[in-house]
């Protein structure tokens, strides 16, 4: 019964985002509390419920581990917002053009917004660590950075889609401004469609892939001297 409960607890905690190294440490705590209750003649179901309640829910624990990420100075965040607004203004220019599949304004909008958002939210070191993990598939992410690296990947996925939607909105606005001149509609339409294309590629081929790899890498990271879960 105990092993089954522990296996279920580990599985649900892993789904909530905790790594195996974090779970190994928490499991020792959980079992120590459980043993103390059992020694005091508390029945197993009650002892288990109390030990779990004291330790906290998996998502709350994950949130606490995520708080370990470095926070950025307010001036950096302000700079990020200013740069984002500047990008939007640049892209909204009706002089934008389409050259094959490369559309610099859309590319600049999507990549620029995602980069600024990640740097402002997580700091250069966490972003560099996450991207380095993604590029070097043979390496295992450091346990102490696990939560921050996964947060960068998840945030990057959301930011990419948000940048794509923003590109669609800005492109549509440009189109609506040029309704009287059909020859000028192309620029706005290009921004809208190309932004969405770049966003989809960056979110699904880039960040979703990175997040999935990080999750798998953490799931197989063994504790020093121990075996992988």
């Amino acid at each position: 019964m105990r092993d089954a409960l522990l296996a279920e607890w580990r599985a649900s905690s892993r789904r909530a985002g905790l790594s195996d190294l974090e779970l190994d440490e928490l499991q020792d705590h959980l079992e120590s509390a459980l043993d103390a209750s059992l020694e005091a003649a508390v029945p197993m179901p009650k002892a288990w419920a109390e030990a779990c309640a004291r330790l906290g829910r998996a998502r709350e624990l994950e949130a606490e581990f995520l708080k370990l990420q470095p926070t950025m100075h307010p001036i950096s965040k302000l700079l990020g917002v200013s740069l984002s607004v500047t990008l939007c203004v640049l892209v909204a220019s009706p002089s934008a053009s389409i050259v094959g599949l490369i559309h610099p304004p859309s590319l600049l909008l999507v990549v620029g917004l995602v980069t600024i958002g990640l740097l402002a939210g997580h700091g250069p070191r966490a972003v560099a660590d996450a991207l380095a993990s993604g590029l070097d598939r043979g390496a295992r992410p450091a346990a102490t950075n696990s939560a921050s690296q996964r947060a960068v990947a998840r945030h990057g996925h959301r930011l990419a889609w948000a940048a794509g939607v923003l590109g669609v909105i800005l492109g549509t606005i440009t189109c609506l401004q040029e309704l009287t001149d059909p020859s000028a509609l192309g620029a706005g339409l290009a921004t809208a469609l190309m932004s969405l294309l770049y966003a989809a590629m960056l979110a699904e081929l880039g960040f979703a892939n990175l997040a999935q790899w990080l999750e798998r890498a953490h799931a197989r990271t063994p504790a020093p001297g121990g075996e992988a879960a």
Partner: protein, 110 residues
């Protein structure tokens, strides 16, 4: 039960002081602080580990994986030289607060 802001403020000084006495692990640290405070200081168990990890990242403590007497994997924490220096600074600060409070209470009773 002590007020949450006081519990939060005293967490790092207490952790450093407890580890200054020797190597320990999460569950034992919580039990020890409950015992020392007569149950008035109760740490949130889910938040202790992130604090320990932060102190480790700052180089104030180090950790190693070992085995409990029951055979489980257990992570033990030890104070570093820098942690010992920080512990000394914390002690000076808290002693200053303690002296100021005692003086204020004595003046109020006089």
């Amino acid at each position: 039960m002590a007020a949450p802001p006081l519990v939060a403020a005293s967490t790092v000084p207490l952790l450093l002081s407890l580890l200054a006495a020797g190597e320990s692990y999460g569950y034992a640290l919580i039990q020890r602080v409950q015992l020392l405070s007569g149950g008035r200081l109760e740490w949130s168990e889910g938040t202790l580990y992130p604090v320990l990890h932060r102190l480790e990242r700052e180089g104030w403590i180090t950790s190693r994986w070992g085995q409990s007497p029951e055979g489980r994997k257990r992570k033990y924490y030890t104070l570093t030289a820098e942690g010992r220096r920080q512990s000394g600074r914390c002690r000076e600060d808290w002693e200053a607060v303690d002296r100021a409070l005692r003086s204020a209470w004595e003046a109020a009773l006089a």
